[in-house]
Subunit: 586 residues, 2 copies
């Protein structure tokens, strides 16, 4: 037996026991004739003591131990003189009588401490060492606990976890697929699932009633900051349900997770916000509602009421009110202007107005507006002395709102209103069914082509499809879309109609979704579902800035695993067997 | 709300309640002025009653219902006159007052009953209908329950479920990889994991201590009867353990599954059998020990003791004793001879000897042997009157044993000794470290190159590597290898030596496993693990003949998903983006 106890287990009550421990050398300290070694494993750190006077040879060997050596020791649990209250094992130490080096370690390329000297690149290359750091390891422990609780909750509600295949067919609609050449079917390819959407709908047709799966999904997209080519969904679907049933069940799941994982009891129903209101008040379909600072539309106040042509030409003018920021310096205001002008945001400028102590308003567009107009601005914004009003405008309403949204989030961060330990949840509902794609010159499904329109909006499908709202819902927490779903179409005729509106020829619809449409002929139940992004949930609970930190072996922005050095070139023999040739452009 | 209850829920105690149910029409029967409809969902079947005299119009609509229509009804729970004791809901029926057809069904291509008229091909094409059959659905329910229990058990033992990546690097060693072209890294490919073997070892180096994952694995092999290109492993690894620790923990898991899923309490430790003994007694490293009929070696008895040149030239002669089969007819014996001569088995012939009522022996090789020799045969085989002795021989010991193994299993089946409700578990241990590959002309790792040799056999690595045994173990149940694993090498020097014996150049070892060997430099703990085949476990518990039946959407023998019609051709645009061209041979 390699150990009687872990390094996180022993307490004062164990004093006097003879124990065997194994783990990694975290630190070696010499003090007088004593050598102290911190021994680490997943469960904690235990202090080992070697006494030169008692056993000179053993102590000499301990002095030679290096960081990250793997050792096994035998010794007696002893009450410490100077107790360490920050450590669960801090009241005891082990007086070592035997020491075995199980495996010596080369000097690690960075220090294995929470506060490491290793940069991002080197830590990813040696991810197996990075994972030894408690702050990283804890994220994986949290992830495990969360998936256990998800499964417990869904199992208790009668859901079956059903594995759907990873090697499926490619569907050109949506994001780009990763494909897998088939050796047994020359020239043909499987695709890795972007989500098991159609498969879970088939499981509903199959009468499985309540399905879930914690499942890897794949998208071959150019990677933005917080995307991974492979990510994990908590994928769910239910039969014989309406939107209200799905929302109740998955709100219950969120509450279960908050209670069991974070110890937070959420008793109130989550607020619901129509998509149109979310866009109007926050310029986002995933508003961060940890703080207010809602948008106020200012078209009535500022368009045509002065000589400022930018506003006079605008289709949208909106402002937010930053409390206590009237004292911002010129430099701070310039920073904000630079912020909104960055290419990722792309605004042309930023107008501000300070509400002074005496109630008057001083603005960057003073010369174009009378004080009367500016006081009306203050009133409309419900601003008080000390507030800073920030105003943006543009010709494209949606685009301008999104820019103002970025500014609002930035101000929220600057004012410390985005506390990672505060959670603000809501449902965004009543999404539009379609959105116009400039690129494709046609209406596209905002969620996917299987989303059910609101019953009361079905008549609009012919007359004004752009106004049709869907039975679609997103769960949002702290400005992050943690989950989303919809009621699906189960009526083959309605599905046909939807494909027509989306510009699918009958042939193309048949080619891409024929198997699903065919299945719907044989008695599809009304059904709907939801998918949670597991990586995002874990990041949120762990307070991480990137989903990468809660993934054991993530990929970098070029889709590479720098630890494994994957992807890589394969043998000509492998290519031949797959009936493939490389066709490199240069 | 679509339903107040499921179709499997209502009992006599609910009589008088007004309920709403939804489900599929299983059957419609007219009897006198009454119409009975069996309404089905995942949870059961409830009988609906429509009375012509009470509501003619409603009854007329019920008469028009077709099989698999999805309907919703409202009605009152009523005590049945003629109760059906085979059905949990058999004491009640619903007197229907409202009927809504939610979705009509076309006539299904086969009957949705346990005893269906649908052949394998049509059922796979319409798998979503096949899954509606209770006998298929139950396998998926069982699978869900088993994975829940696996997770409960491993979680209680401190294991963390950690997701490892699906897009990793290709390793030419072992079976053929499925590969995934990378668009962002032109000309390079990811591989889908054949197992997370190296990744879980890296997690041990990372100090994760106890890891598991229920995970999809992929092998691009020509598909035999019971193989799937994607299959699911319960993959586990532990640090600071010896073989005994791993065996104890996973024997505990097997017992937990038997107890919670099958209600079988296994109290005794599972027997252990060295690999060499398994081969000697059963000709298999996964013996079916539900029955005896062990091999008896007959070289002393039959080689050189008569004129039968087949035996006189043999390197191995072995027999099994089939109790009570002395009465086998000539035809039955010919069938057995044909069985062992089939190309899958490839034996040249079969010798038999009947032990007659008077104790004398009548054999197919009578003319070559004296009765004295034949009586010695009887004695050696411990045969009694009425027994049939079946003897095979050959020049290749292993090959002949394997042939005799097939015959033994066949006889076990014929004699009804392979009861699917009886479970016989054992550990096969002490596997050889290496096996000789005729094809490659070198020693190959029997498990994989990271398997730890038995400490006492390490000196043989230089002198007689073929004799080295490994710390490897398989769990076998009813002749199926349900899991297997080993203690891994954690010492970089020993690993180097292993690669040398396996004929890897340093360069090739570095290229293929460099990341692992490099990781081992930084303090790898002693570790070992095991992987269970989930599909096999579920099949075993469900009494299935094929793993296919416990997989929601399996592939056929050509690796095709006939329901999705995958794999398929992709667009030229997709190929271009991936820098690939097809290179079809004809």
């Amino acid at each position: 037996m390699f150990r009687t106890n872990t390094c996180g287990e022993l307490r004062l009550a164990d004093a006097g026991k003879t124990v065997t421990l194994a783990g990694w050398v975290q630190r070696v300290r010499k003090m007088g004739g004593m050598t102290f070694v911190d021994l680490r494993d997943r469960y904690g750190i235990t202090q080992l003591v070697f006494n030169e006077e008692v056993n000179d040879a053993l102590c000499a060997r301990a002095n030679k131990l290096g960081r990250e050596d793997v050792i096994q020791i035998k010794g007696e649990v002893n009450e410490r003189e100077s107790k360490n209250k920050n450590l669960p094992t801090g009241e005891i130490e082990i007086i070592v009588s035997e020491l075995t080096v199980l495996n010596a370690s080369a000097t690690p390329p960075f220090t294995i401490e929470d506060n490491t000297d290793g940069g991002d690149d080197i830590r990813m290359k040696y991810r197996y060492l990075d994972l030894r750091r408690a702050c990283v390891r804890k994220n994986l422990e949290l992830r495990h606990q969360m998936t256990m609780e998800v499964r417990r909750y869904l199992d208790s509600k009668g859901f079956l976890e059903i594995e759907t295949p990873m090697l499926i067919g490619s569907t050109p609609e949506g994001a780009r697929d990763f494909v897998v050449p088939s050796r047994m079917n020359p020239g043909q390819f499987y695709a890795l699932p972007q989500s098991p959407q159609t498969l879970k709908q088939l499981l509903m047709v199959a009468g499985m009633d309540r399905y879930f799966q914690i499942v890897k999904c794949f998208r071959d997209e150019d990677l933005r900051a917080d995307r991974q080519p492979e990510f994990t969904q908590i994928d769910c679907e239910m039969s014989f349900v309406e939107q209200e049933d799905v929302i109740a069940l998955f709100e219950g799941m969120a509450k279960h997770l908050f209670r069991t994982i974070r110890g937070i009891e959420l008793t109130e129903p989550f607020p619901r916000m129509p998509w149109s209101e979310a866009m109007r008040l926050y310029g986002s379909d995933k508003p961060d509602t940890r703080f207010g600072m809602e948008f106020v539309e200012l078209m009535d106040v500022l368009k045509g009421t002065g000589e400022f042509s930018v506003f006079n030409d605008a289709s949208y003018i909106g402002g937010i009110c930053a409390p206590g920021c009237a004292s911002y310096t010129r430099k701070q205001l310039d920073q904000l202007t630079d912020f909104v002008k960055r290419s990722q945001i792309g605004a042309k400028g930023l107008v501000y107005a300070r509400v002074q102590e005496d109630g008057s308003v001083k603005s960057s567009v003073d010369k174009f507006y009378t004080q009367e107009v500016l006081l009306r601005l203050k009133e409309t914004m419900k601003a008080v002395p000390g507030d800073l009003i920030l105003i943006m405008s543009g010709e494209d309403v949606m685009k301008t709102r999104k820019q103002l949204c970025e500014l609002r989030l930035e101000m929220g961060s600057r004012l410390g209103l985005r506390d990672k330990n505060k959670f603000s949840l809501l449902w965004v509902v009543d999404f539009p069914m379609f959105e116009w794609s400039e690129e494709e010159g046609r209406l596209m499904a905002m969620h996917h082509p299987f989303t059910h329109p609101k019953d009361e909006d079905i008549p609009l499908l012919d007359s004004n499809p752009a106004a049709v709202r869907a039975d679609a819902y997103d769960m949002v927490c702290n400005g992050v879309e943690v989950g989303g779903g919809s009621i699906r179409i189960h009526d083959p005729e309605l599905q046909d109609k939807m494909f027509k509106i989306l510009g699918f020829t009958e042939e193309r619809a048949q080619e891409q979704f024929g198997f699903l449409m065919n299945a719907f002929k044989y008695g599809a139940p009304p059904h709907g579902g939801l998918a949670y992004g597991l990586d995002r949930w874990v990041s949120l609970f762990a307070g991480l800035d990137s989903i990468r930190d809660c993934i054991a072996f993530p990929k970098n922005n070029s889709g590479r695993d720098v630890m494994l050095d994957a992807p890589s070139y394969i043998d000509q023999k492998q290519l031949d067997e797959l009936n493939l040739a490389l066709d490199l452009k240069d």
